[in-house]
Point group: C2
Chain length 379, copies 2
């Protein structure tokens, strides 16, 4: 079928924010977009039906490291790929596993060839190389697949950051080579996004962006941010990258972030986001709403029978009350985890859809300035 | 509004199985019926939307002990009752809390007045009496409310069982008196079901059934079975009770049971069942299906891409595969708990609906004989 295609529709007045449409073999994605994280083939506590009907997810993530360990490529290939296995028939993006190998696995050893690591599940030894990670992502079959990169921690010293970036660039060439040598497995096209690294050094980030841009990929990602650096620094480096990465390709800021991070990222020219925050924080009782941030365990909600989020066009968030959701959390009921996850994901998807409308309407900048204050406030 | 009404439609040929319709102020219930257990106002891991659309639940249970402790009657009254609080607008039945006080609470002390106990949550001291339990059930506002009884353990010696039964009968009188003195709180009628006790002694069970029948209640329950006695003994005492309890009122066998227990109970003249088994066992990976019993964690399902239950008209059970559900359990994903709970509840509701059709069609007895073998087999 066809390679991923990006139609840039509008750039906002007085901002670098863009509205566009990404077309993949599993359907269209309206940008800017937030992608719910479905690490092992399931967005935690939410059914695929709820993801479509209540959350309005257009694309979800899977993770190569987790899916490789469980259920494994043999099962995924027998199923006909992840889309057939988890029955999500819209676009999927898989992370390369690089980030997880560095953060989750034990005794990882980085060499030119790749990374030797031990599984966090059973301690078994594995090698991830650019080639093996491309092969695994072929077996998973996501529409967008990510290059195998090293994500250096924050802070990293200049020499380490430079060597790591250069390794990531060499690995990227090997990813493209491997992909060129291996056909799509399931009759639709997979698209490789390279990842900018370079830690928090302007010359390295600039060099990395130029190298990544030179590959003329279907889309480009910015990695190595939102790893503990101050927010302003994250915004500065996002701006720097967006100025170099090509306008005519979607830009993906990996692992970001809070609702206000996302609004700032959109303002700087980012088209795609992912983060575990809405689901993870939701499971801890932290709700992101159209009115602000709620700790639903707080006693103040015990007799508040207003909807979870009156401003959100999401059925469960309209149907159930804050008091009921608080009760579910206090009583450790599983339903609380589901309703909070749906609320937060639905809010994130609503937020990027609102941003898109304001980009198109021409008032993104003023809307954002006001709404950042709303979503940040603690209720 | 109106008291609960039972229309007995058909009694099966060669069996005591019956098909009927219970009418309450929150709608009709087609019997025989299975009632999912929503202990603290939530059927664990399942949304109210899923309960309606996927499970086809007609009535759910709440538990007085749990709801009294959390969220408490103050919140429930402020909400306008449990129906408004959890947004389940079909019939609800509340257990009296007797069983939980005896099985969960610490340092319980039984006196003529009632039971002093300590909360399993925080050790706080409380008194449950027939009067207080009626008051709490008024605040919860279920359509069917249960008498406060003592449920003796199995085995119990004759003298203990006799004294306990007599206490349960005296408490029953106090329940009816209290109910007569207190109005419905929310504009619809609550109906008290008395509970037969008497342990495993025929004369006691007979005396208890006769006493309970003499109260001319809207429906009658059989308690104190499925507490560890052999299955055959449970069936024998169920048969004994059904022969005495009035035909024109619904009969509720409390806390039962496996799919085959339910088919046998229906055969003996039971109209209503509840049990935590479908949800609890589901959360442990044990599936009840139209083909038999499945341990979904078993390696044999790893690459079985057939639907969870091809024979069940339940969307999630048709949509997702056994291999995917197994993966969710092996990877400890919350979605597994939801899908297994929906499968099991949907199967239980399908099973009683099938039984009803066969009662009406006149071939219940032969269908049951064959199907008991199917549902019992391990796949």
């Amino acid at each position: 079928m066809a390679s991923l295609h990006f139609d840039l529709e509008t750039t906002a007045a007085g901002s670098k924010a863009r509205a566009g449409v990404i077309t993949t073999d599993h359907g269209k994605i309206h940008t800017p977009i937030f992608m719910p994280v479905g690490t092992v083939g399931s967005v935690k506590a939410v059914t695929q039906q709820q993801l479509k009907q209540d959350v309005n997810a257009q694309i979800i993530l899977g993770n190569t490291y987790h899916l490789y360990l469980r259920p494994g490529t043999e099962v995924l290939e027998a199923a006909g790929g992840l889309h057939k296995f988890n029955r999500w028939d819209r676009p999927i993006l898989t992370d390369s596993g690089g980030y997880q190998v560095f953060s989750l696995a034990a005794n990882r050893k980085i060499k030119e060839e790749g990374v030797m690591f031990q599984s966090h599940i059973d301690g078994s030894r594995h090698l991830f190389s650019p080639e093996s990670v491309m092969d695994i992502q072929r077996s998973i079959g996501a529409d967008i697949i990510m290059a195998f990169d090293e994500c250096p921690p924050y802070p990293s010293d200049y020499n380490y950051a430079k060597k790591s970036m250069e390794l990531t660039h060499r690995w990227l060439d090997r990813c493209f080579d491997r992909l060129a040598d291996t056909p799509d497995k399931y009759g639709y096209t997979q698209n490789l996004f390279p990842i900018v690294q370079g830690s928090t050094y302007k010359d390295l980030r600039t060099a990395s962006c130029e190298y990544i841009a030179s590959k003329n990929a279907a889309g480009n990602a910015i990695g190595g941010l939102s790893v503990g650096e101050p927010e302003e620094m994250m915004y500065d480096f996002t701006a720097l990258c967006c100025d170099i990465l090509p306008k005519e390709k979607p830009r993906y800021l990996m692992g970001v972030g809070t609702p206000w991070n996302i609004l700032e990222g959109i303002d700087l020219g980012i088209d795609m986001f992912d983060c575990v925050m809405p689901t993870r924080n939701g499971r801890n009782g932290m709700l992101f709403t159209t009115q602000g941030v709620i700790n639903i365990r707080n006693k103040k909600w015990a007799s508040d029978f207003s909807p979870i989020d009156p401003g959100l066009p999401c059925e469960p968030s309209q149907y159930y009350s804050k008091a009921y959701l608080r009760h579910l959390f206090v009583a450790d009921e599983l339903l609380g985890l589901t309703l909070a996850s749906i609320q937060n994901l639905s809010f994130y998807l609503w937020l990027v859809a609102e941003a898109r409308q304001h980009i198109i309407a021409g008032d993104f900048k003023s809307w954002k300035a006001g709404f950042v204050e709303v979503v940040k406030q603690r209720l």
